[in-house]
């Protein structure tokens, strides 16, 4: 249980469906897709998937070179989204350097593209003489967090969770705990990732990347659907500004939502496969942290990526806790799987659903797989009175994470 109340006051988005919060929400509510064909993937031997959900329409040159030189795309996305979140919250710039606002932003890896470019050159003659000074800063595991803090002049705590697909759910949760336990007054938090064929290959090698819809990008991925065939990899960044509620109210901030519960739990049954019991445990712990029961949840934003095993396991876990009483959807059908950014982009969209009082359906869910049935699957976007949302993210490595947010309208 949180010792002090924590609220969300700002959201920043760089995504396959637009590069700000309102554009993202408009596209999600309209049922659009950010998935497209990527012809370059055809040139990679052994790779069967040809789809991705990539970012377009940003201008990195707007970032001063002094800061940009240490950024790969993922840090550029994180920086741009962080700026948006601070602006939306009208957070006082003078307070950024006072040590009471920190950063909790993670990514799956350091930049694979930077790594590839370095080694491509290095293997020419095994010389390090052409290695630029910015290389390490793009490769390091805390590249996004460090670059955001450096470029925004932030001097508080720096955290950089790296937990694959659960990265940003954990990042937001850990940020919430920093504030809840009085260590920081505010946190910029979330995740970022950049697209690279290696990410697709990681799933493809385990037969978990979509390949049956290469000529129909709009039809993949298909969370919970009978014809689902795997993940479509994406990129982007979702950043939320969390603040101590009393301080946010004192400075007159517009409260978007309350963060009321978080849990993360590990399972050791397999480094690759999901574990239903651990998922259930994680959700139970988050409910306990929020002081809520399952019956008080109005909507579940599922992790559901469109893989054979993951969707069945999550459906099973949700069935055990919520039966068919709580509407469930996944946004991967719209956004693809934006990896370390998926938790925070989808959490931002969940904030949007609270604000709009609308629930967004699972795109491409046409025929629910029998093994994913028994849930209140959302197949049509609809207006709904929604007060409390539970959001899941699960990851390879045995990582489970759940966060719960509540509407601030009734405060």
């Amino acid at each position: 249980m949180s010792l002090v109340s924590v609220v969300i006051t700002g959201v920043g988005i760089i995504s396959p469906l637009g590069n700000d919060f309102s554009t993202l929400m408009r596209a999600l509510l309209a049922g659009e897709t950010g998935v497209r064909e990527v012809p370059e993937l055809e040139e990679i031997g052994g790779l069967r998937s040809r789809l991705a959900a990539t970012v377009s329409g940003i201008n990195p040159k707007l970032i001063p070179r002094k800061f940009r030189r240490s950024m790969s795309n993922m840090s550029i996305y994180a920086y741009l989204a962080s700026q948006q979140a601070l602006e939306m919250a009208a957070y006082p710039p003078a307070q950024l350097g006072e040590g009471r606002i920190g950063v909790s932003i993670g990514s799956t890896l350091g930049s694979t593209a930077t790594s590839e470019n370095f080694f491509k050159d290095y293997f020419r003659d095994h010389s390090l003489e052409r290695m630029k000074s910015g290389l390490f800063f793009q490769l390091m595991g805390h590249s996004c967090a460090a670059n955001v803090m450096q470029s925004l002049g932030m001097t508080g705590r720096m955290m950089a969770s790296s937990a694959a697909c659960a990265t940003s759910c954990q990042s937001v949760g850990y940020a919430y705990e920093q504030i809840a336990f009085g260590r920081q007054d505010a946190m910029l938090c979330g995740g970022a990732d950049e697209f690279h064929p290696l990410t697709v290959a990681t799933f493809d090698v385990m037969n978990a990347a979509s390949k049956d819809f290469n000529q129909q990008p709009e039809s993949a991925p298909r969370p919970f659907d009978q014809r689902r065939d795997g993940v479509v990899c994406g990129e982007g960044s979702g950043i939320l500004l969390l603040e101590r509620k009393d301080l946010a109210l004192k400075r007159g901030a517009n409260i978007l939502a309350d963060v009321c519960g978080f849990a993360t739990a590990s399972d050791t049954s397999s480094i690759a496969n999901p574990d239903v019991d651990a998922m259930v445990t994680c959700m139970r712990l988050a409910l306990e942290d929020a002081g809520l029961t399952a019956s008080e949840i109005d909507y579940i934003n599922a992790h559901a990526t469109g893989t054979e095993q993951g969707d069945i396991a999550e459906a099973d876990a949700l069935r055990q806790l919520f039966g068919d009483q709580v509407p469930v959807s996944s946004l991967k059908g719209h956004l693809g799987h934006t990896m370390a950014a998926s938790g925070s982009i989808e959490l931002a969209a969940s904030v949007g659903m609270l604000l709009e009082q609308k629930l967004i359906a699972t795109r491409n869910l046409e025929q629910v797989d029998d093994r994913c049935a028994g849930l209140a699957h959302l197949q049509q976007t609809r207006p709904e009175s929604v007060n409390i949302i539970l959001k899941n993210n699960f990851a390879m490595g045995g990582v489970n994470s759940t966060i719960i947010i509540r509407s601030s309208v009734n405060d």
């Binding site: 070179r65 002094k66 030189r69 003489e129 052409r130 290695m131 630029k132 000074s133 910015g134």
Partner: protein, 84 residues
């Protein structure tokens, strides 16, 4: 390569790498106070010059004394002169 061509190659390479405005790149421009470069940029500048002129200068003691664009011009011209 004429002296002017050498200077042009230096300036264009540095302008491209560090996204500098050529109009601000006079020979007396201080790399740090006028052009805004820092110690990390100095590392990259050596790599850019080595790539442009196909020589090795990283271990040259004279590099540490470079402060202005004119210093770079003179250093590179002298280095080229020394080459067999």
């Amino acid at each position: 390569m004429t002296e002017q061509e050498v200077i042009e190659l230096i300036d264009s390479s540095i302008a491209e790498e560090f996204e500098l405005d050529r109009s601000e790149m006079g020979a007396d421009a201080n790399l740090y106070t006028d052009l805004g470069l820092d110690s990390l940029d100095t590392v990259d500048m050596v790599i850019v010059l080595e790539g442009a002129f196909n020589f090795k200068i990283r271990e040259e003691e004279a590099i540490r004394a470079i402060r202005t664009l004119g210093d770079i011009h003179r250093f590179v011209l002298s280095k080229i002169d020394q080459q067999p």
